[in-house]
Amino acid sequence: MQASWNPLTDLQLLFQYHFMHNAFLAGTIVAVVAGAVGYYMVLRAQTFAGHALAHVGFAGAAGALLFGLSPVVGLLVVGIGAAVGMGMLGDRNGSGDAADGVAIAAVFTFAIGIGLLFLQLYPGQAENAYSILFGAVLGITDTDVETIAAAGIATLIALTVMARPLLFASLDPEVAMARGIPVRALSIGFLVLLAFAVAQSVQVVGILLIFALLVTPAATAQRLASRPPVAIALSIALALLFTWLGIAVAYFAPYSVVGFYVTTIAFLTYAVVVLLTSERVERAWQSRAHARSAAA
């Protein structure tokens, strides 16, 4: 598809086909959910757990293909199982120490091995593996959009209900526990939400690239804003921006690898923000401001 550099015509071109409507609908829901859930994940330092849940999901999606179900169903079932298991095995406040890291690695390599077996049993393995691993946003059906929307709304409602106690439990688990907040239950509940978010994101960016929507927007937002509501809103906005831009660029670019464009945009944004907010740059800005006020 050739871009005409006329924004209006390009927008028309972009929404010419039904599969692009579905891609944008699914992408939007996923970005909102991933941006919000990702904020808590980064706050709780559970990036490795999120990574592991995504990989565990590979087995679920491959198994669902084998039994003729929708990959989203397999992802949800296996993801929730793994989330509860990891939450139960993990320590009190659910963040991983060395032993937990090894346990997480053990579970997810095993899950990928099983997923590989499922794929081997199912004919046409290469293409299916790729669509699970790297996403197939341009091949999303109407039913998929409905499933993603239902799961997304459920995730957002659950997150809104537990937002405040979860924030408290994430920032200061000891005090939260003393105040009677069920820290452990919240930790398991959050992992389940994370599994939901992962299951939805897989269709858009794939299991391997999920970090681009879960971690990078949240990490960028935390560098720019310290107040939680502002940071969450910023994280959602960034996730939306990455997804929309990624899908749009992939539509016009010669290689329609949405995952590549989403991850590249996310990575560049994060790199620029890290550079701009580094102490050295801030000090340089301050000294320049000082010099200017001294001159005036």
Binding site: T47, G101, T109, F110, F267
Partner: protein
Amino acid sequence: MAKSSARQERSRVNEDGLLTLLQVSLNPVKGLQEMLGNDFMRYAFMAGTSMAVLGGLVGYFVVLRRLAFAGEALSHVAFAAALGAVLLGFEPLAGMFVITVAVALGMGSFADQARSNDIAVGTVLTWVLGVGALFLSIYTSSASGGNNGQIGVNVLFGSILGVQLQQAQEAVGIGLVALVVLLLIIRPLLFATLDPTVAQVRGVPVRLVGIAFIGLVAVTVTEAVQVVGALLVLALLVMPAATAQRWTSRPFIALVLSAALAVILTWSGLILGYYKPYPVSFFITTLAFGSYAGTLGVQYAWSRWSRRPAGHVQIAGP
């Protein structure tokens, strides 16, 4: 190509798989002879064994230094590098080797700032994977790379039964060099891992040793990608070492145990993969998970039974 003949060979074996398995259990020597009579199995054992020894030894330090996530990141770099090399017409192993070691050395130089910085690692890792996805797409849509993108699946999930003589020799050569380097730095490395502050005071070049070690991790990862694939590297890099550390707290015994366990896992996976129609990587990861989970179960039962406080078997380390 030798690879397709290897596949035919395997499917021939699979047809009378049960019969062959019975023969093996009746006459192990004959079964072993028959299995090693195949070139592709000899090459697989060569590459697999050298990788397993290296993975077991290096993995011990990976667990102690809590570098599991970094190892995971490097395996993803190896994936993108292998596809990039194929795309540009280089040998995948060479491309993977050069780029992964370069990235590892870069990571090692920033180690002080990047310590426990999972977010930076995760962001870079995801981007590298995205680049790999692009390479894969370009390669599979190009004229030379039809074949349903099998190359990508091989890199992600391993292709040990398709290893050629030259690759096996390279794997053994690289493995031996890495092993010598590891043995040369093993004492300062252990010291710097267990107590970096004291080691620094005693004049051990902690930073240099750390950079050299992350380079070794990169070499191990590129070897492991061939055996179990980029997605399953941790099965050979972390699982045997974690299991070994559960059984003993003495470093050198744990190192030997870890290497031995990695070799046993790899050999068992290869033998099962030879007689059964399922991927070798699946058997290796399942056995690795089984040995770790089994160890945890046995030790839990033991601690319950002997009424000692749970978790009295300490993980070696600080």
